[in-house]
């Protein structure tokens, strides 16, 4: 899964999609996920990374990550396979 190219994400969580002109706000964990996605990590690898770094139970984390990715899909920010 890949974020669409040309999508700009700033360090403080501002995201701009040049295809649609839409802008988005992201929180810190969301920015981190996008960075991991950009570096080519899979969903499972992202979940593993979060488990090690943050104080969160597995079920909550998995639900939250997949929910976030569903939102990226909803806003059409993911490259279609």
């Amino acid at each position: 899964m890949k974020l669409k190219s040309n999508i700009a994400v700033s360090e403080n969580g501002f995201m701009f999609d040049p295809y649609t002109g839409d802008s988005y706000n992201l929180n810190e964990t969301a920015v981190e996920i996008l960075k991991l996605l950009k570096s080519g990590k899979t969903n499972e690898e992202i979940i593993e990374h979060f488990k090690e770094k943050y104080d969160v139970d597995d079920a909550t984390l998995e639900q939250n990550i997949y929910d976030f990715i569903a939102m990226l899909n909803h806003y059409d920010l993911i490259e279609k396979q």
Binding site: S23, N27, T29, I33, Y54, T60, N64, F68, M71
Partner: protein
């Protein structure tokens, strides 16, 4: 290595050009305590959801309202509106503060007597009074507020068999300049029906006209309507005095003062727009003092305020059951508080607060109740922080009507606890269980043991 605090990832689309009428909210308000008692502790003891009543807030609000009137008018008497919240513990706090009881049914009348209210300190309102109710009220010396001519003639008939005179008042409806005009209760002022009723009572030997009553509406956003109503009742009292040389003992302005909740569709929050007790008091007392009634014959001013006295003292604690996405990717959060117990969510935009530390990130969220019904929506749209399953929420200002209009539907009605002035918790109504319903139901013999027959 110590792990970092986790926050759910979130992406919010920036919608330029759609200004928020309240401006941008800068901080998510969190309420973790009620009167100094941690919300978490209350839930651990009494479960979720749970209603909480603050004794301190009841007393403080009552004193605030009482002083607003007492400082402007010599004779003021509050009567607690039972239908607003008739939990015995709540009623008793009002009675301790000096309130009489205002009831609208035989059931409420029984409750008031059981709460130790003397019969001659009960005001009996409402369109539904059975012959038995009227007989009891006459014998106990209660004040019967007559709603219609059928009731008036019932009282004449029933009081013929009694040694006691019925103490009565008439309920008067009128145009106070507000919409909608409430004309379904009592006798109309403008078309002369109220005056006819007064004349009929005055020529009766079995009734004593002691008061005039009105209830002009509910959640009244303008104090001026009360000034109009008080002037009209004072005019009726003066006219009665001139014709019959009979002083009306009290004028009862009913209830209807707005609480600080925000009505659905309101542009600004209720706490910014609703009149204060002082506003209402100024309007009513000025109208009475400036009327043609002679100063030494000024009637006692009765008030049956319910909502504005109790709303702030009630809280509802609940917890998050689940989060989900709707088809348009909008966030929905399901909580264990449904419209069956939070009846007022049909007309208020209730404030909802997280009851533990949480993220400052918010999403436009719909809050659903737990019922398997499409109408079970607590908030259509609220900027809400990211809560997880099991997190607690607190809804303030739910003291009025919810604990009387609640429905036993799908789930049991929850515990109600009171926090006393010393921060102790008291269970004042037990959560229902299957036994409560079994006691009321009867299964005919021919329907028993259905599965044994198979």
């Amino acid at each position: 290595m110590k792990k970092l605090r986790y926050e759910r990832p979130i992406i919010n689309k920036i919608k330029a050009g759609v200004p928020d009428k309240y401006g941008m909210q800068t901080k998510v308000k969190i309420r973790t305590e009620i009167d100094g008692v941690p919300v978490k502790e209350i839930v651990e003891k009494y479960g979720s959801p749970v209603f909480v009543i603050s004794e301190k807030t009841i007393r403080d609000t009552y004193q605030q309202a009482y002083m607003a009137f007492q400082s402007r008018y010599p004779k003021v008497q509050f009567a607690w509106s039972y239908k607003t919240n008739y939990l015995d513990a709540v009623c008793k706090v009002y009675h301790e503060e000096g309130s009489w009881a205002e009831v609208v049914s035989g059931f409420e009348y029984e409750k008031a007597l059981k709460n130790g209210v003397p019969g001659n300190k009960i005001i009996f309102n409402g369109p539904d009074k059975t012959d038995e109710d009227i007989k009891n009220a006459i014998e106990n010396g209660s004040y019967i507020h007559i709603d219609h001519f059928d009731e008036l003639y019932s009282i004449i008939r029933l009081s013929n068999n009694s040694t006691k005179k019925a103490k009565v008042a008439i309920r008067v409806n009128m145009d106070t300049g507000v919409y909608p005009k409430w004309d379904r209760f009592g006798f109309n002022y403008e078309n002369g029906e109220a005056w006819s009723a007064i004349n009929r009572i005055m020529i009766s030997e079995n009734m004593e006209l002691v008061g005039l009553h009105t209830h002009i509406g509910t959640y009244m956003m303008t104090a001026n309507a009360y000034a109009v109503a008080a002037s009209k009742l004072a005019a009726l009292a003066d006219r009665t005095n001139k014709k019959y040389n009979h002083s009306i003992k009290y004028i009862d302005m009913g209830g209807g003062f707005a609480s600080k909740n925000t009505l659905k569709g309101a542009y600004l929050p209720g706490k910014d727009t609703c009149p204060s007790f002082d506003d209402y008091a100024e309007a009513i007392t000025s109208a009475l003092i400036n009327s043609d009634i002679e100063p030494d014959k000024l009637p006692v001013l009765f008030l049956e305020t319910g909502r504005a006295l109790i709303d702030d003292a009630g809280y509802l604690i609940g917890s998050v059951l689940a989060n989900k996405r709707l088809s348009n990717a909008r966030r929905a959060t399901i909580i264990d508080i449904g419209v069956n117990i939070l009846f007022t969510s049909f007309w208020y935009e209730h404030e909802v607060y997280p009851a533990q530390e949480c993220s400052q990130q918010t999403e436009d969220t719909t809050l659903y109740g737990p019922l398997c019904m499409n109408i079970d929506v607590i908030r259509e749209s609220i900027q809400f922080p990211l809560l997880q399953k099991g997190d607690l929420i607190l809804i303030p200002r739910v003291g009025a009507y919810n604990m009387t209009q609640w429905m036993q539907f799908i789930t049991y009605r929850p515990n109600v606890v009171m926090i006393d002035k010393d921060k102790n918790l008291h269970l004042i109504r037990k959560k229902e269980d299957l036994l409560v319903f079994k006691q009321q139901e009867i299964v005919p013999d021919f329907l028993s043991d259905q599965f044994d027959k198979l």
